[in-house]
């Protein structure tokens, strides 16, 4: 009575298990079926927080949102120069303080309605509304009264410098000429959303309504949302309403939340992905040696550096800071630990930021470093009170910190300890400036040196070093924006950056590169400084395969 009854469900379960688990054979890979059907399988790093352009922050979100929506102007993936998006053209007036966007009358929402200038006014109202809590609201701060409105100093949105002159004409008034403003139109926080759709599910400023779900969402990009399985995949399909649909080659894209980089690489090798978000560092040498390698690496608009708390001994002494910086063999670091996946950096702004090259004020010079340290009172490390490097838990940060720790030990004979903290604790410490040395990375929001240099204005939110110099502030905040020419502006930037590096509140370490594995069947992905991908240019070609050595 007991025995069969007890074991029957177990047996049944086992049978079910066998049925469900086996049915073996790997079948057709995603790449093969994708190439046939025009579906791109895209490793997207992680599950997006959401798809609301005014709510989310982050890179994975960016990829999906920019597939679903389109800004007034988009970046050309080869040159990063602006090209028409929703706006077919734009004009500057009042010495560049007023921009008039002429919207493409053919621009359509995915429900067939026209994208109008008043949609933009409504959307920017939402993006700047104090109750929305848009963390990227500052993207619109060049607009007159935008910042004041967000901070509640201006309560009437009509006073903000954005007007719909008619259905297709949008006029934007800026505080000052802002050369990079057009670039910002490709950032999702400046995108338009469909007002009626949002209002159907809640107030304008609500953060969490289901308006972005499949079936609800109305967007204006080359693709529209087809499936959103949490933590599994997001599928977008080609939109038949998109104004430039003839240029779109892909029938759809599948975004995978590939959190684990090692797994992502394996998926790529098994032809489950066309494209990986990153490449595990240890795999890079192997990939590099392949003929026709799918590994692509290119400079990225970002700098990896160590923050220094300039008020805490021993690093309150500029000589110590310089000694630390000069004793770092960046070339060696890049060659070994980083496997040539970075470029040594000697300043904060990445080289060739729209033609701007930062000054190089120092070099690897251990002798001078030792001398500086001795001058600061620690000859050959004697009397060194100790130093702690703070970094957030991540393999890459660990490796760099471990290597740097040893470099300082061997070059300067000083003891350095490491403190790795989980993300939020690390953020808390960095924000409170409660550290001696902390790792930091900055990825540009737009291609302009200003985006890097204005980090270090006095009490800047992302300064985090106690660095403060009124002359520097004046250069960045007042003199550079008023510069008449690009050359003049860049000269002022160079001046400021030289001052910064002479005080050394940060130790620049390297300039980022981005690394992807891209299947040979993918065409139309171009390397650029922003790692900016416009899916409407991407094409899939059949009958191309991964190198034999990989399989």
């Amino acid at each position: 009575m007991l025995s069969p009854a007890t074991f029957r469900p177990v047996l049944a379960g086992l049978c079910l298990l066998l049925l469900n688990l086996t049915a073996c054979g790997s079948g057709e890979s995603n790449v093969v079926s994708g190439n046939r059907d025009g579906i791109l399988h895209y490793g997207n790093g992680s599950e997006p927080q959401g798809l609301d352009p005014h709510v989310v922050t982050g890179v994975p979100e960016n990829h999906i949102i920019r597939a679903l929506f389109e800004g007034l102007a988009v970046k050309n993936p080869k040159t990063l120069e602006p090209e028409p998006g929703v706006a077919e053209r734009w004009e500057f007036s009042d010495e560049g303080r007023i921009i008039t966007f002429y919207l493409n009358p053919g621009a359509r929402w995915s429900n067939g309605e026209q994208v109008t200038a008043s949609d933009y006014v409504w959307s920017w109202h939402r993006a700047l509304h104090p109750e929305t809590g848009n963390e990227y609201a500052y993207m619109l701060f060049p607009v007159v009264n935008a910042e004041a409105y967000l901070k509640g100093q201006v309560t009437d949105f009509d006073e903000v410098g954005v007007k719909a002159l008619d259905d297709t004409t949008l006029q934007v008034t800026l505080n000052a000429p802002t050369p990079y403003f057009i670039q910002l139109m490709d950032h999702y926080s400046t995108f338009a959303v469909h007002p009626e759709t949002l209002l159907k599910f809640g107030k304008m400023t609500d953060r969490y309504t289901p308006w972005t779900r499949v079936g609800n969402i109305v967007s204006n990009g080359a693709f529209k949302l087809k499936e959103w399985s949490l933590n599994r995949r997001i599928i977008v399909e080609k939109s038949d309403q998109y104004w430039d649909r003839d240029r779109v080659s892909l029938n759809g894209v599948v975004f995978y939340p590939t959190e684990n980089v090692v797994s992502e690489e394996r998926m790529f090798r098994a032809e489950q992905l066309h494209y990986t978000q990153v490449v595990p560092l240890d795999k890079i040498p192997v990939y590099r040696e392949l003929p026709d390698t799918p590994y692509i690496q290119a400079p990225y608009l970002g700098t990896y550096y160590y923050l220094i708390n300039t008020k805490r001994p021993p690093v309150d002494d500029v000589r110590v800071r310089k000694a630390l910086s000069m004793s770092l063999d960046r070339d060696k670091l890049v060659r070994t630990v980083l496997q040539h996946t970075a470029v040594p950096a000697y300043s904060i702004t990445p080289p060739n930021t729209l033609g701007y090259y930062p000054p190089k004020r120092f070099d690897f010079d251990p002798d001078q470093a030792r001398q500086l340290l001795a001058e600061a009172g620690y000859p050959n490390g004697e009397g060194w009170p100790g130093l702690e490097i703070l970094y957030n838990t991540q393999e890459a940060h660990r490796k760099i910190a471990v290597a740097i720790q040893q470099m300082w030990k061997s070059e300067l004979n000083i003891d350095v300890t490491l403190s790795n903290q989980e993300w939020k604790v690390y953020l808390d410490a960095v924000t409170q400036i409660d550290f001696q040395v902390a790792r930091r990375g900055w990825i540009g929001d737009y291609v302009d040196a200003n985006n890097f240099l204005d980090l270090f204005i006095t009490d800047g939110g992302n300064n985090n070093t106690h660095y403060s110099d009124p002359i520097y502030d004046d250069l960045i905040l007042y003199r550079a924006p008023k510069a008449a020419t690009r050359e003049e502006r860049y000269r002022l930037f160079t001046e400021a950056e030289s001052m910064l590096m002479d005080e050394m509140p940060i130790i620049p370490i390297y300039t980022y590169t981005w690394k992807h594995l891209i299947h040979p069947s993918v065409e139309g992905m171009y390397p650029n400084l922003m790692d900016s991908l416009n899916l409407k240019y991407v094409r899939l070609v059949s009958d191309r395969h991964l190198p034999e050595a990989l399989r």
């Binding site: 007991l2 379960g13 049915a23 809590g133 848009n134 599994r232 959190e259 394996r266 993300w423």
Partner: protein, 311 residues
């Protein structure tokens, strides 16, 4: 029986309440908040965000408001995934994780019981040492080591099995289930070996042999029932443990289950999500403990009488 279960359930309520309270205040005392970003957030924006999520209220008011929502089954909105409620996230992941846990458990059971019983039949011989050594390896092998090994061998070198996904490609459920089940298989093997050894030394086994029963029948009909009761008692906690412990496996195999949220939520300071998963998991743990206690008691005729249900 019913009364026994009811009493156990009632006892569970304060337990869960304490768990919620402890977690609530523990989470809140952690440094950093849900809206801290690498690029600093403008104070006005941060205030607006906190207002949207009731974080501007005094802590005790937040606590009671949370309990009020919880009483109505509402775990609140996720901080990390705006637009998703915690309920929604949990229930989208639960079926997958439950399925994964079930397979892992079935694998663990079939391998574990088989190995344990085989070992118990010839204690201190090769037939004992080999499965038990394997079990020891299973216990010692962390899943983040077992997984790459399995993937490398079966997924890459042999190319037999898919290495990621869940239900996308036939066979993609095998590796994660084995990876997750391995440690439990090992525990079950040890448990069933011990249980069987205990039972096999009982007098009634001698009685069964004296009746002229074949060894197979002695083991399957007379010894297994009693010998596997410890295993049954272990299944409840094990299943709850599988659900809670699927984090590594789910991340590595890109499985859209619950496990990926647990640890991430703590790192993200996604308060509602942490609380939601804690409440959900504690309830599961308590529930499965009760279930396995009841089943184990029910399997034992002596205890079944005590449960009051009769036969």
């Amino acid at each position: 029986m019913l009364r026994f279960i009811l009493i156990r359930l009632l006892q569970a309520l304060p337990v869960i309440l304490v768990v919620i309270t402890a977690t609530f205040f523990l989470v809140r005392s952690a440094p950093g908040g849900p809206f801290d970003q690498e690029k600093v957030v403008i104070p006005e924006v941060k205030r607006a965000l906190e207002a949207q999520y009731r974080l501007d209220l005094p802590l005790h008011e937040q606590y009671f408001a949370y309990l009020g929502d919880l009483a109505q089954g509402d775990l609140g909105p996720s901080f990390k995934y705006p637009g998703r409620s915690v309920n929604e996230i949990l229930f989208s992941g639960l079926p997958v994780t439950a399925e994964l846990g079930l397979y892992a458990l079935l694998i663990a059971l079939s391998i574990g019981v088989l190995a344990g019983v085989l070992a118990s039949l010839r204690p201190n011989t090769v037939q004992d040492y080999i499965p038990m050594s394997l079990a020891m390896i299973g216990i010692c092998m962390p899943s983040f080591l077992l997984e790459p090994l399995l993937v490398l061998v079966f997924g890459i070198w042999l190319d037999w099995l898919p290495i990621t996904g869940w239900g996308d490609i036939p066979g993609d459920k095998i590796l994660p289930s084995i990876t997750l089940g391995a440690a439990y298989a090992a525990y079950i093997a040890r448990l069933s070996r011990a249980g069987m050894l205990e039972i096999l030394s009982q007098d009634y086994i001698r009685t069964a042999r004296a009746k002229g029963l074949s060894e197979f029948r002695v083991v399957t009909k007379h010894a297994l029932r009693g010998g596997l009761i410890p295993v049954v008692a272990f299944l409840g906690p094990a299943f709850a443990g599988l659900l809670a412990g699927s984090f590594v496996v789910e991340t590595i195999f890109q499985i859209p289950g619950l496990g990926r949220f647990y640890v991430q939520a703590a790192f993200n300071r996604d308060y509602t999500m942490i609380l939601g998963t804690t409440v959900f998991l504690s309830t599961l743990i308590v529930f499965f403990n009760i279930v396995s206690d009841v089943v184990a008691a029910w399997l034992n005729p002596r205890l079944r009488g005590q449960l009051g249900g009769g036969r």
